[in-house]
């Protein structure tokens, strides 16, 4: 991928950029930023969302996350330590397009009817009336067009799109043009996922946006069976660096590390806390015991 070996501007030592746009000189510790012409699958960043949360704040958020895990998580998580903490500018594509869709759906239009029914009152059979709401289903089809904007998909193999999605959204009003000053001294990754794979993810997310827009468009009291086909025109994907804190959480000496991701702008945290099967088993056993006791006590009364 985008590996480069260049000379340090401070001391002349050899610098290796291995899939990153930034590095620190091993001899003089000067932070350097790579500048290079764009290549296929390796464009230059257009935009940056700068870090807003420093390491201390991010640490507090991570601590808060470990403390607030549920009762079925591994007991060690509450006192977990962080083996590694990194602030990473993750490469992502900011995607936009003009979407055109043809849709069809069934629209539910409610109406009320007066119904007669018979019931028994004081031992006598009586006839009564009541109003009931019923739904008439009518088919509707049409065309829709709209702009898709602000779709962000990961261009990093290290942080899959689903994981980035879990700490989204980023406030794109704070978008700035890429500049050395925003990334120097931080880890800024080069895109490691091919453009085609990223576009596939982006179109998938765009489809979800279109589905939501169409659901809002539907008239009637309810709708069902909404199906649509969409073409995307005038697509644009710009490379944007987004700020993410990545924590390697150690909750037990003999267990693998757990990754915790924190949005470096908004503080939204996501990680998969390890379950404690022993605790789950105890809870299930307790629940069964309670049921058994109830059955025994009430069953015995008969």
């Amino acid at each position: 991928m985008g590996d480069e070996t260049l000379a340090c501007d401070e001391c002349g030592a050899s610098l290796r950029f291995e899939g990153t746009r930034t590095t620190k000189c091993p001899y003089c510790a000067s932070p350097s930023v790579l500048a290079r012409p764009a290549r296929h699958d390796l464009p230059n960043p257009d935009f940056v969302v700068a870090f807003v949360l420093g390491q201390r704040t991010a640490n507090e958020i991570a601590k808060g996350w470990t403390r607030s895990r549920g009762p079925f998580t591994h007991g060690g998580i509450k006192n977990a330590s962080f083996d590694d903490v990194r602030g990473v500018y993750v490469p992502a594509y900011l995607y936009g397009a003009l979407a055109r869709s043809a849709y069809s759906a069934e629209i539910g239009e409610n109406y009320t009817e007066t119904e007669t029914y018979t019931t028994t009152e004081n031992g006598k059979t009586v006839t009564k009336t009541r109003t009931v709401t019923k739904t008439e289903w009518r088919s509707l089809s049409g065309n829709w067009a709209g702009y898709v904007r602000d779709v962000v998909v990961s261009a990093s193999k290290g942080l899959p799109n689903a994981l980035l999605g879990a700490v989204e959204p980023f406030d794109l009003r704070a978008l700035r043009r890429y500049d050395v000053g925003q990334v120097q001294g931080w880890l800024a990754e080069e895109p490691s996922l091919g453009g085609d794979a990223c576009m596939a993810h982006a179109r998938q997310e765009a489809q979800e946006d279109v589905a939501a827009a169409l659901a809002r468009l539907m008239p009637g009291d309810s709708h069902r069976g909404l199906s649509f086909s969409t073409t995307f025109e005038r697509e644009i994907a710009s490379l944007v660096l987004v700020p993410v804190w990545v924590f390697a959480v150690r909750y037990a000496p003999d267990k693998p590390l757990v990754r915790l991701v924190v949005n470096g702008q908004t503080g939204r945290a996501y990680g998969k806390a390890p379950l404690s099967w022993a605790r789950v088993a105890i809870a299930v056993a307790l629940a069964l015991a309670v049921i058994a006791v109830v059955v025994l006590v009430f069953g015995g009364e008969r």
Binding site: D9, L34, G185
Partner: protein, 317 residues
């Protein structure tokens, strides 16, 4: 002012825009990429040591001497009026317009309203508003009575092109939204100038919102206008509900205006009422006015008396 237009939707880009406000396409940029790869170090302007970006300072901070260079803030200025419409109604004419208006309010107002009201306070005001033009492709869906079967409603959908010309969106704090929309038809936008013209001491309202917020307000107003037009002109049938639209804008041009109006207070029978006079078309005058409870009571009594008479006659027979 706008230098270029978005290549996707033809909306003019304003200075500092990174992306098109309408369709979010990135604005073009002049690249300063080197012909071959180089390792760069951004240095402190005061001591020459390498700097690092600091999240706490939102800028680069020199690890050595601590000096901070803040990043340029994303461009989102508080908006100010760029065009002013001149007052064509003088304060005296506004006075006269209010008196005239008070005399035309009909039977249920006090007879001496126009004579006895005292005008306390007449304030010339340039109120803040956006005026926009745009072309749009509107996709709509709605329920109407046309084609209905068992339910009163049947669904309809369609797509139509629309032209929006000089749609006014109030940004005013001094005027309520409804007041501003009643004034809208009386303005002649061709008379606009670069500075306020009118009576001395006129208040010029600020917009009080940032550009990003302004664009949200305009987009909402545009959608509301589209819903209104679709409900009235596109959906078949007489009754319409659940009218929803999706809008693709093309060439959205919005301008910030300061528009002239008089806001005044008049006193009648010890109470204060509010009235608005258009700054260019004084025939557009409206506001609050007292009701004559004596006249209403007299009418109610009269009607009751009439009913009593009719009942009495009917009973005698």
């Amino acid at each position: 002012m706008s230098a270029a237009a978005c290549s996707r939707c033809a909306t003019p880009l304003e200075a500092g825009d990174l992306r098109c406000a309408t369709c979010a396409q990135p604005a073009p940029v002049r690249d300063d990429v080197p012909p071959e790869a180089t390792a760069r170090i951004l240095r402190c302007e005061s001591c020459g040591a390498a700097v690092a970006f600091s999240a706490e300072h939102q800028g680069t901070r020199c690890v050595f001497c601590g000096s901070v260079t803040r990043l340029e803030e994303p461009h989102d200025p508080i908006e100010a009026a760029e065009l002013y419409l001149p007052f064509k109604t003088s304060p005296e004419a506004a006075h006269a317009a209010v008196r005239g208006w008070l005399g035309t309010l009909g039977f249920f107002r006090p007879s001496d309203l126009a004579r006895a009201a005292t005008i306390d306070n007449i304030k010339p005001l340039f109120f803040a508003a956006w005026v926009f033009d745009a072309d749009a492709l509107v996709s709509w869906a709605a329920d109407s009575d046309q084609g209905s079967r068992r339910s009163d409603w049947a669904p309809h959908a369609g797509q139509t092109r629309m032209r929006f010309d000089a749609i006014l969106v109030s940004a005013s704090r001094g005027l309520q939204a409804e007041e501003a929309s009643r004034l809208a038809p009386g303005f002649d936008l061709r008379t606009s100038g670069k500075s306020p013209e009118g009576p001395e001491g006129a208040t010029v309202e600020r917009f009080d919102v940032q550009r990003s917020a302004a664009r949200t307000i305009i987009a909402r107003a545009l959608e509301a206008t589209a819903v209104q037009r679709v409900s009235q002109g596109e959906v078949p049938g007489r009754r319409v509900r659940n009218c929803h639209v999706g809008v693709v804008l093309h060439g959205l041009v919005s301008k910030r205006y300061a528009l002239p109006a008089y806001v005044l207070a008049y006193r009648y029978d010890g109470r204060v009422y509010r009235a608005i006079v258009h700054g260019q078309t004084p025939q557009l005058t409206f506001g609050d006015a007292p009701l004559s409870w004596r006249k209403i009571a007299a009418l109610v009594l009269g009607v009751l008396a009439l009913i009593a008479v009719i009942v009495a006659i009917a009973w005698r027979r």
